[in-house]
Symmetry: C2
Subunit: 309 residues, 2 copies
């Protein structure tokens, strides 16, 4: 089941040629490590552990959200049932920790592996907190912009912060560098999620492959909607509230978009991307990375803030 | 939710005066540590981590098995829903790892904490494997005695083996002592589970608080039943198979007990308790424990093999 989730095998155990995911977190971990002149081989098991950890959260998220498809295949719980899927997620969680604990390469001191395990586990704690808030928000009456940003900082940004901090651990393990890596990852993770929110409403359907206003149709309370619920006034506010609490039919995409426009929610959201993008740049400026690394890390940040799918 | 599961608070967050569980694993961990002359304070966070880990498995087990009551209270998923319960279990898993990683006391070397985390995580891997087998056995046509013993060695015995091995880690971390501790815990864990199976069928209802043949009524395929399914012959075998595969009504307790008797399944099960109890004694004999420790560890083994509830 773990190998199925990782895209290595089909449900019958035969080798798969399916989409294995983008491995974003391990890739960025190793990029940071190399940019800081670190030991890639020592970092590799920790980077792999991050991918296992990410997949553990996906297996459990799919059970929690009743999602039936992931990477164009039935989710683990659809194939093996919910009980086995919860257990398979727990196994991936275990394998993640074991992989991180076995990092450090030929370095005979266990300090790096222990520090790495602590950082990864703390990051995972923040992910479970974010997941808790995300579920709670579905039924909470008044979720504000600050609540939402706090939630995505945990659920979406925590593992990106961990990815970069791990890179720093295996590149000298300097506290100030680790701090800057963590800040860089956290801010980029927030930018990533908010950009996702923008694309979910204003993305080009021919590029995203999703219908116009996809997230509105799914009644998802992403940042633009939460901002408008907080900031719109009079009839707009009443209409938005009623559309987003009526379970019987999806909100009207056109009127929702008009309300968001009038409330300045699109501008506000783009501003948040710029703000957190700037914070990421400031963190990157503090990092003692080589020229090759800086170029690539800047390219990553630019891509994340401006991607159109 | 985590504190509710641990019995510290009620569902509304107010302080609870409920049953917090017996804390068997941390207690036995610290007993072994003390028996080996180890550093109790260094071991304490790891011992606490074991209890957190055990509770993580309980929260997820309750979701997987649809169990609605635990320690006389509604289970976490009954109070907060399945999604939040899965997430709360994941948090307890994380907190367990963090607690273990922070063991070691004033010892400045991170070796002990890293070794402890590896042992706990490997043990947890075996628990997830045992849980997988346990769920799979529910629908498997031919589960034999060897399959069953392999399953309980993982699901029930692994964390007891970890408890004792952790005790040894914080008492000199000698490989041979760790091996003996692991064997002692594994064999005792198997004895514990098989004794549970005996009590589930032949336990005294006035002592166990459960009806006669409780496990038979629940169609649980515990060791005596699995042995009889494998070893009984002719009409007994056919009748037992049919009773244990008929979903429409529980097996007849009286005829099942008679079949078990004729198949020698009760004797076989008691023999297994003696066999694994002896293996535990042999492991204990290899342990360099003090006289106080030996007396207490022998008492633990005797209690586990002969307990009547």
């Amino acid at each position: 089941m773990a190998r199925y989730q990782l895209g290595q095998v089909n449900a019958d155990g035969s080798p798969a040629t399916t989409d294995r995911g983008k491995a974003v977190r391990p890739t960025l971990c190793l990029l940071m490590c190399e940019a800081l002149g670190g030991d890639l081989e020592a970092a590799l098991p920790a980077a792999a552990g991050l991918e296992l950890l990410h997949n553990f959260t996906l297996v459990h998220d799919d059970v929690m959200d009743d999602d039936e498809t992931r990477r164009h295949r039935p989710t683990v719980w659809v194939v093996w049932g919910r009980a086995q899927a919860i257990d398979a997620g727990d196994l991936l969680h275990v394998l993640a920790t074991l992989s991180v604990l076995r990092s450090g390469g030929n370095n005979t001191s266990p300090t790096l592996a222990k520090d790495a395990a602590e950082v990864v586990t703390e990051g995972c704690r923040r992910v479970t907190e974010g997941q808790h808030l995300d579920i709670a928000f579905e039924t909470a009456p008044n979720v504000g912009v600050a609540d939402y940003l706090d939630m995505i900082a945990r659920k979406s940004a925590a593992l990106l912060a961990v990815a970069f901090e791990l890179g720093a651990i295996f590149a000298g393990n300097d506290p100030a560098t680790r701090d800057a890596c963590r800040a860089y990852g956290r801010e980029l993770g927030i930018v990533f999620q908010i950009r996702d929110d923008v694309l979910g409403i204003w993305g080009d359907p021919t590029v995203t492959g999703k219908p116009v206003g996809a997230d509105i149709q799914k009644r998802k309370k992403t940042l633009p909607v939460i901002h408008a619920l907080e900031s719109s006034a009079g009839p707009d506010r009443a209409r938005l509230r009623s559309m987003f609490s009526d379970d019987s039919r999806p909100p009207d995409v056109k009127s929702t978009m008009e309300i968001l426009e009038r409330a300045g929610s699109r501008n506000f959201t783009e501003e948040q991307i710029r703000k957190h993008g700037n914070l990421a740049s400031q963190a990157l400026a503090r990092l003692p990375v080589n020229a090759w690394g800086r170029r690539n890390l800047e390219a990553v940040a630019t891509y994340i803030a401006a991607r159109d799918r």
